[in-house]
C-alpha cells in the first residue's frame, strides 16, 4: 500500500507531524514502512506557460517554444512531440541542477539559442508519467508562471510504501491509513462532503432496475454517468504513478484513483452493451450462486463475480459515452472461500476484496463521481444511485478490562481502554463494571475476540509503553532426549571439525535421475515431491553423498585442492522415513606441498581417511560391503561395523565418478547418527598384573581378508580369559610364498588373577595357532 503525504492530508491534518514522526507512528501502529521517498526539486525548476510553439527552423523533430517563466518570457527548444498540446509545463531554468547532477545552461541547438529545459517527469526524478514532457494543469493548484515546483505539495510530495499485513484490508486505502493514523495521533478525520449536482431529471428506474437475491453480506451501489468520453487530470495521473498503478485508460485511471483513495471496490460497465443484453431498461440480477460466489447478471449473461473478476466484454473505457458505475463490498471470507473452492481466476481487485475492502460503498461511489466531475465537468449522473442488498449488523464483542491487561501485561484503566477503542471507531456500549460490550466497526472484519481487541489496545497504547517483565518460572528439569541428542550431535560435529572437515549444509533435495544412476534407492513415486522447485532438486534425498560431491565439484572449480566436507542432516528412506546421518567427503591433498614433504603434496589415502572417521565416531571395524552404490570403487569399499552392528559405509570414490566430478582421489562415508551416539559405559576392574605382548606369524591364503581371521579370533577371545586384544601387525608377500601370504598378528595377554607363567602363555598361543590351522590351514612361518 503506497500513500503520499499530500494525499493523506486530504483526510488528516499533518501540519505538526513531520515525516520522521509519521514514519515512527505508522510503524508503531503496525503499518510497517518499507520505504519513504521525499521528492524535492531545485528552486529554479518552475511552472512555465507556453505562449507559442513553432517548428524549429533547422530541425524537423524540434520545437521552438516561447515560455513565460514569471520573470520573463524565454525561448526554449524542446524535442518532445507532445509539447504542442501543452499549456503549462515544468521548466528547469538556467542554473537549475536536475537529478544526476545535470546543470541547465544556455545552449545553442541547431543554431537557435535555448534558455532552459522543458522537463519530462523522469528528468525531474519523478516516476514516468507519459512519453515526452510532463504537462501540468490546475489540478495541483493554481498555475502561476515562475512559481517553483517545490511549492506544489502534491508534486513535491513524500511517498510512503507501507507493507500491509494480510489482516489489515481496512488500511488498503488512503482514507483507511488516515483513519488509523487519526486514532494514533488523536486527531479528527476530515469529512468528505460532496453533493452530486449534475443529476439527470429522468428517474433512474426508467433505465436501471436491480434485483438482489443474496444471503451473504454483499452490498452494491450503481450510478449511471453520461458524457463524451473521459479524461483524467495531471494530479490523478501523478498520484497513480506514485502508487505504481498500471491503469492506462483514463476511465480506468479514475476508477483506480477513487478506489485507492476510498478503499471501495469500483468498476464500470459500458451501458450501451448492457442495453443490447436486456433492452431499454437494464435489469441487473445480483445472485448468490450455489458455489459460494455472488454474480452480477444481465439478460442471463454474467457480467462479473463480485470481488473476484469482471468480464472484459462489458467493461467501459474512456471512449464510452454512457457508463454504469458499480461500487461494491463483499464479505472477504465468503469471497476467499468461493475462489478457493472453485479455483477461480481473479482480477487485481481480489487483492482488496479478499483482505476486506472498505464497507462504506456510498463513500466510494461519491468519491468516484467527484473524481470524474473534477476533470469531466460536462457529464451527467443518473437521478439517484441504486443500492442493492444490505449490510449485516456489526459484531458485538464483550471486553473484560482485566483480561485485556493480562494479555498485554499492563495495568490500563477502563477509561484508557474505552478511549482507545472509541478513537478506533468502536461503538462502546454499557460501560459498567469490569466488563463492557463493543460493536466492531464494519471495516474491521479481522476483529472477532478479546485477543484481537487486546492487539488494538496494544498498538494504539504503544508497545514502547509496555514495561518488560521477566516471567516467573517454576523450576523444572527440561533436559529431555531431544536435548541430549542435540548435544551429542554437537559433540560429533566438533570432532569432525577437529579432524579437518568443514561443515556443509545442503538442501534436503536431490536429483532423482542422478540418484538412480548411482544406484541409490529413491523415495517412492507416490510419496515424493509433487512440485519441485527445479529439476536438479526434484526428489527428497536418500543420501547426502551426491550433495557433497556437487559441493566438492564447485570447490574444485574455485581452485581448492584439499576438500574435506561433512554434513549432519536428514535423509529419507524409500518409505520416506527420516534418518539423520553424518556424511563425509575427503578429496585431493591430505597435506599440501610444503617443507615437510619436500614440496610434494601428500594425497588422501584410505588409512588417513579411516583414522579421521575413527576420531569422529570412535572405534570400529571394516568389513566387506554387500551392497555397493555406483559411487564406490568396487574393490575399496567397506561396511563400518561398530559394536558388532552395521552403522554405515565407507569407500574410495569410483575413479569414473571422480573424473565426472573433476575430483582427484576421493573418499566418502555415510553413517547413521543413531548408531554412533555415546553409550553408557560401566568400568571393569583393572588388572594388577603385567600384560604380555606376543606376535604370531602364520602363512595363509593370499585372498583371505583379515576380517575372516578376526572373526574367528574374536570368538576365541570370548573363550580365552587371558586373551585381551589382538590386531594385524604385518603382512608379507613374496614370490617364494606363491599364492600365500604371511600374516603377523600381535596379541595382548593378561590375567586378572596372577602374573602369567610361560606355560600359560605358550598354551594360549598354541590354541590360537591350532584354531587358525583348523579354519584357514594356517601354518607357522
Amino acid at each position: 500500500m503506497i500513500v503520499t503525504r499530500s494525499w493523506l492530508e486530504e483526510y488528516i491534518d499533518l501540519n505538526d507531524v513531520d515525516n520522521s514522526r509519521l514514519n515512527t507512528t505508522l510503524n508503531s501502529i503496525g503499518l510497517e514502512v518499507d520505504s519513504i521517498e521525499e521528492y524535492t526539486f531545485d528552486e529554479r525548476v518552475v511552472v512555465g506557460k507556453i505562449i507559442s510553439c513553432s517548428k524549429h527552423p533547422n530541425a524537423d523533430k524540434l520545437n521552438l517554444c516561447e515560455v513565460d517563466i514569471g520573470s520573463e518570457v524565454v525561448s526554449i527548444v524542446c524535442g518532445a512531440a507532445n509539447v504542442v498540446d501543452a499549456k503549462y509545463v515544468a521548466v528547469a531554468t538556467l542554473g537549475a541542477v536536475l537529478p544526476g547532477d545535470f546543470k541547465i545552461k544556455k545552449a545553442k541547438l541547431r543554431g537557435v539559442e535555448s534558455y532552459g529545459m522543458i522537463c519530462s517527469s523522469s528528468e525531474l526524478g519523478l516516476p514516468k508519467l507519459e512519453d515526452g514532457i510532463m504537462i501540468l494543469d490546475e489540478s495541483i493548484g493554481e498555475m502561476v508562471p515562475g512559481k517553483p515546483l517545490n511549492e506544489y505539495p502534491s508534486i513535491a510530495d513524500t511517498v510512503i510504501d507501507i507493507e500491509l499485513t494480510a489482516n489489515r484490508g481496512d488500511c488498503d486505502s488512503i482514507h483507511g491509513v488516515a483513519r488509523d493514523l487519526a486514532a494514533a495521533l488523536e486527531k479528527e478525520l476530515k469529512p468528505f462532503e460532496f453533493e452530486v449536482k449534475n443529476r439527470s431529471v429522468i428517474g433512474v428506474a426508467r433505465e436501471l432496475q436491480v434485483e438482489c437475491r443474496c444471503d451473504t453480506e454483499c452490498v452494491l451501489a450503481y450510478s449511471i454517468v453520461e458524457g463524451e468520453g473521459f479524461k483524467s487530470s495531471f494530479l490523478q495521473r501523478l498520484r497513480l504513478a506514485f502508487i505504481k498503478s498500471e491503469a492506462n485508460d483514463d476511465l480506468e485511471r479514475l476508477l483506480a484513483y477513487a478506489q485507492h483513495e476510498s478503499g471501495v471496490l469500483l468498476c464500470a460497465y459500458d451501458f450501451a452493451k448492457l442495453h443490447s443484453l436486456s433492452g431499454d431498461v437494464v435489469k441487473l440480477m445480483i445472485k448468490e450462486q450455489q458455489n459460494a460466489t455472488v454474480t452480477v447478471e444481465c439478460g442471463g449473461e454474467i457480467l462479473s463475480i463480485v470481488g473476484v473478476s469482471q468480464k472484459s466484454d462489458y467493461k467501459a473505457n474512456f471512449k464510452s459515452t454512457k457508463v454504469l458505475l458499480e461500487a461494491s463490498y463483499i464479505d472477504p471470507e465468503f469471497v476467499v472461500e468461493g475462489v478457493y473452492a472453485n479455483k477461480l481466476q481473479t482480477d487485481a481487485l481480489y487483492y482488496n476484496s479478499s483482505r476486506g475492502s472498505e464497507t462504506a460503498i456510498d463513500f466510494g461511489m461519491k468519491k468516484l463521481q467527484h473524481e470524474i466531475l473534477r476533470v469531466n465537468s460536462e457529464v451527467r449522473f443518473s437521478s439517484a444511485d441504486v443500492i442493492a442488498c444490505e449490510y449485516r449488523e456489526g459484531l458485538k464483542v464483550s471486553v473484560k478490562v482485566s483480561e485485556i491487561n493480562s494479555i498485554i501485561g499492563a495495568e490500563l484503566s477502563k477509561a484508557e481502554i474505552v478511549n482507545i477503542l472509541m478513537r478506533l471507531g468502536f461503538d462502546v456500549q454499557k460501560v459498567d463494571s469490569d466488563v463492557f460490550a463493543v460493536v466492531i466497526p464494519p471495516y474491521r472484519h479481522d476483529i472477532k475476540n478479546s485477543h484481537d481487541i487486546a492487539e488494538e489496545v496494544l498498538r494504539i497504547y504503544g508497545i514502547d509503553n509496555i514495561k518488560e517483565q521477566p516471567l516467573k518460572v517454576v523450576e523444572a528439569n527440561r533436559i529431555n532426549d531431544t536435548y541430549l541428542y542435540y548435544r551429542s550431535l554437537r559433540d560429533i560435529r566438533e570432532r569432525a571439525i577437529a579432524a579437518n572437515f568443514y561443515e556443509a549444509l545442503t538442501y534436503a533435495f536431490s536429483n532423482k535421475e542422478l540418484l538412480q544412476r548411482f544406484g541409490f534407492d529413491t523415495v517412492d513415486e507416490k510419496l515424493d515431491l509433487l512440485n519441485p522447485i527445479v529439476q536438479e532438486l526434484n526428489t527428497l534425498r536418500t543420501t547426502i553423498l551426491v550433495n557433497l560431491l556437487e559441493a566438492a565439484k564447485r570447490n574444485v572449480n574455485y581452485g581448492k585442492k584439499r576438500i574435506g566436507l561433512f554434513e549432519v542432516g536428514t535423509i529419507f528412506a524409500k518409505d520416506r522415513k527420516e534418518y539423520d546421518v553424518i556424511t563425509f567427503l575427503l578429496s585431493g591433498e591430505e597435506q599440501r606441498a610444503n617443507v615437510h614433504n619436500s614440496a610434494k603434496a601428500k594425497m588422501v589415502d584410505l588409512e588417513s581417511f579411516v583414522a579421521k572417521i575413527g576420531s569422529v565416531i570412535g572405534e570400529f571395524r571394516l568389513e566387506p560391503l554387500e551392497k555397493k552404490s555406483g559411487l564406490m570403487h568396487p574393490y575399496i569399499a567397506a561396511a563400518i561395523i561398530k559394536d558388532g552392528e552395521y552403522v554405515g559405509s565407507l569407500a574410495k570414490l569410483h575413479p569414473k565418478i571422480a573424473d565426472e566430478f573433476g575430483l582427484k582421489d576421493t573418499f566418502i562415508a555415510e553413517i547413521l547418527i543413531e548408531k554412533i551416539l555415546p553409550k553408557h559405559i560401566n568400568a571393569h576392574a583393572l588388572s594388577n598384573f603385567q600384560a604380555v605382548t606376543k606376535d604370531l606369524s602364520v602363512v595363509i591364503n593370499k585372498s583371505l581378508p583379515f576380517y575372516e581371521v578376526a572373526k574367528v579370533l574374536q570368538e576365541l577371545k570370548a573363550k580365552e580369559a587371558i586373551l585381551k586384544d589382538f590386531y594385524p601387525l604385518d603382512i608379507y608377500e613374496d614370490a617364494s610364498l606363491g599364492d600365500k601370504k604371511s600374516l603377523t598378528i600381535r596379541f595382548t595377554l593378561q590375567s586378572d588373577q596372577a602374573t602369567l607363567s610361560d606355560s600359560e602363555i605358550e598354551s594360549v598361543m598354541h590354541r590360537i595357532l591350532e584354531t587358525l590351522q583348523e579354519h584357514f590351514g594356517a601354518t607357522l612361518r
Binding site: 510503524n27 501502529i29 503496525g30 510497517e32 514502512v33 518499507d34 499485513t165 494480510a166 489482516n167 489489515r168 472461500e337 475462489v339 478457493y340 473452492a341 493480562s406 494479555i407 485477543h451 484481537d452 492487539e455 496494544l458 508497545i463 509496555i466 514495561k467 518488560e468 517483565q469 521477566p470 516471567l471 518460572v473 523444572a476 527440561r478 529431555n480 531431544t482 536435548y483 541428542y485 560435529r493 571439525i497 577437529a498 579432524a499 568443514y502 556443509a504 549444509l505 538442501y507 533435495f509 517412492d524 510419496l527 515424493d528 515431491l529 509433487l530 512440485n531 519441485p532 522447485i533 559441493a551 570447490n555 581448492k560 566436507l565 554434513e567 520416506r576 610444503n594 617443507v595 615437510h596
Partner: protein, 330 residues
C-alpha cells in the same frame, strides 16, 4: 696442590677430566702415592700428615665435582644444539575445519534458551495439513497461506513450512506448563537472491495457566535474547500479523551495519527485522485441546541471524559447501 686444582679446572672435556681423575684419585694416582708415604712417617707426625692429606683430597674432590658438573652441562648443551629445528617453518598446515555459520548460530541460540530452562523439541520434516496449517489457525483459504508456498508430497502430506508444527505436536502430547524451543530445517517453494527452498528456524513457545503469561514477558525475554545475540543494539517491537498469535509483533534491531543511521542493508530505515512473535491465539489452544491457558510464541530465521552476525553477504552461498566461505570461520 694449587697446581692440581688449576689442572682440573682447565680440563675441556669429560674424557680429559676422567684421565686426570685417574691420575689424581686412581689406585696408582698421585693421592694414592702420597698416602703410601704414611707408613714411613714418624708416628707423632702421622696424624697431622694424614689430616692434611685428607683435607687436600676433599678439596680436590670438590673441585673435581664442580668441574664435572660444568662439563656435563656443556656436553648436554652441545648435543641439544645439534637438534635445532627452525620452528617457524611449522604451523602453516591447519588441521581444523569449521562449523557451518548457520549451525553455529543455531547452537548459540539453543545455548541461550536451554540456559533459561527451555526444553528442546523436534519434529519430522514431513508434516500434514493439520499440524502445519489448520491447527495454527490457517484454514485452507486463509490469505496467509499464500505467504508460504508449500512443497507438497504425493500422498497429500507436505514439507513443513515452519517449525510451528512442533509446537502443535508438543502441546498435543503434553500438559502445560510448556517452555520449549524447536530448532530445525523448514521448506518453502521460493528460490531467488534472498530465498532458498530450505532454511532454518527456531521456534519458541511458553504456555502456562490463564493470566500468567503476557506480552510484557515476551517483550522482556526477546529484548534480552537480542542483546545476547547482537550486543548493544536497540530493539523495536512493531505490531504485525500472524495467524497463530494475537497480538502479534515483529521485532527489529537497530541496523548493525550503520548503527541506525540508515544504509543499503536496512533500506535506509535504520532497522533490521529479525523476529516474529506474539501472544498465542486462543484458536491455536483450542485446536490442541488446551483450556484456561495463556502463552507466547516466537520464531526466527537462523540464516538471517547468521548473515547479520557474520556479515555473510549472499544467502545462497550458505548452501554451497563453499570452502572459501567456511574456512573463514576456522
Amino acid at each position: 696442590m694449587e697446581d692440581l686444582k688449576k689442572k682440573i679446572e682447565a680440563t675441556g672435556s669429560l674424557e680429559e677430566l676422567e684421565t686426570l681423575r685417574v691420575s689424581i684419585f686412581g689406585k696408582k694416582g698421585l693421592l694414592a702415592a702420597e698416602f703410601a708415604k704414611l707408613k714411613d712417617i714418624a708416628p707423632e707426625k702421622k696424624r697431622d700428615f694424614a689430616k692434611e692429606l685428607n683435607e687436600i683430597k676433599a678439596s680436590l674432590s670438590e673441585v673435581y665435582e664442580k668441574q664435572k658438573a660444568i662439563l656435563e652441562e656443556k656436553a648436554l648443551e652441545e648435543r641439544l644444539s645439534k637438534e635445532v629445528i627452525d620452528v617457524s617453518l611449522y604451523g602453516y598446515e591447519t588441521t581444523k575445519g569449521s562449523l557451518h555459520p548457520v549451525k553455529e548460530t543455531m547452537d548459540k541460540i539453543i545455548d541461550y534458551f536451554s540456559a533459561l530452562n527451555f526444553s528442546v523439541e523436534s519434529g519430522p520434516l514431513v508434516e500434514n495439513d493439520f499440524t502445519n496449517f489448520e491447527a495454527l489457525n490457517l484454514p485452507k483459504n486463509h490469505p496467509a497461506r499464500e505467504m508460504q508456498d508449500t512443497f507438497f508430497l504425493g500422498d497429500g502430506d507436505l514439507l513443513r513450512t515452519h517449525t510451528s508444527p512442533v509446537q502443535i505436536r508438543t502441546m498435543m502430547s503434553r500438559k502445560p506448563p510448556i517452555r520449549m524451543i524447536a530448532p530445525g530445517a523448514v521448506f518453502r517453494r521460493d528460490y531467488d537472491l534472498t530465498h532458498t527452498p530450505m532454511f532454518h528456524q527456531v521456534e519458541g513457545l511458553v504456555v502456562d495457566k490463564s493470566g500468567v503469561v503476557s506480552f510484557a514477558n515476551l517483550k522482556s525475554i526477546l529484548t534480552d535474547f537480542l542483546h545476547y545475540m547482537f550486543g548493544d543494539v536497540k530493539v523495536r517491537f512493531r505490531p504485525s500479523f500472524f495467524p497463530f498469535t494475537e497480538p502479534s509483533t515483529e521485532v527489529d534491531i537497530s541496523c548493525i551495519f550503520c548503527g541506525g543511521k540508515g544504509c543499503r542493508v536496512c533500506s535506509h530505515t535504520g532497522w533490521l527485522e529479525v523476529l516474529g512473535s506474539g501472544v498465542v491465539d486462543p484458536n491455536v489452544f483450542e485446536a490442541v485441546g488446551y483450556k484456561d491457558v495463556s502463552g507466547y510464541a516466537f520464531g526466527l530465521g537462523v540464516e538471517r541471524f547468521a548473515m547479520l552476525l557474520h556479515r555473510v553477504p549472499d544467502l545462497r552461498s550458505l548452501f554451497e559447501g563453499d570452502i572459501r566461505l567456511l574456512e573463514q570461520f576456522r
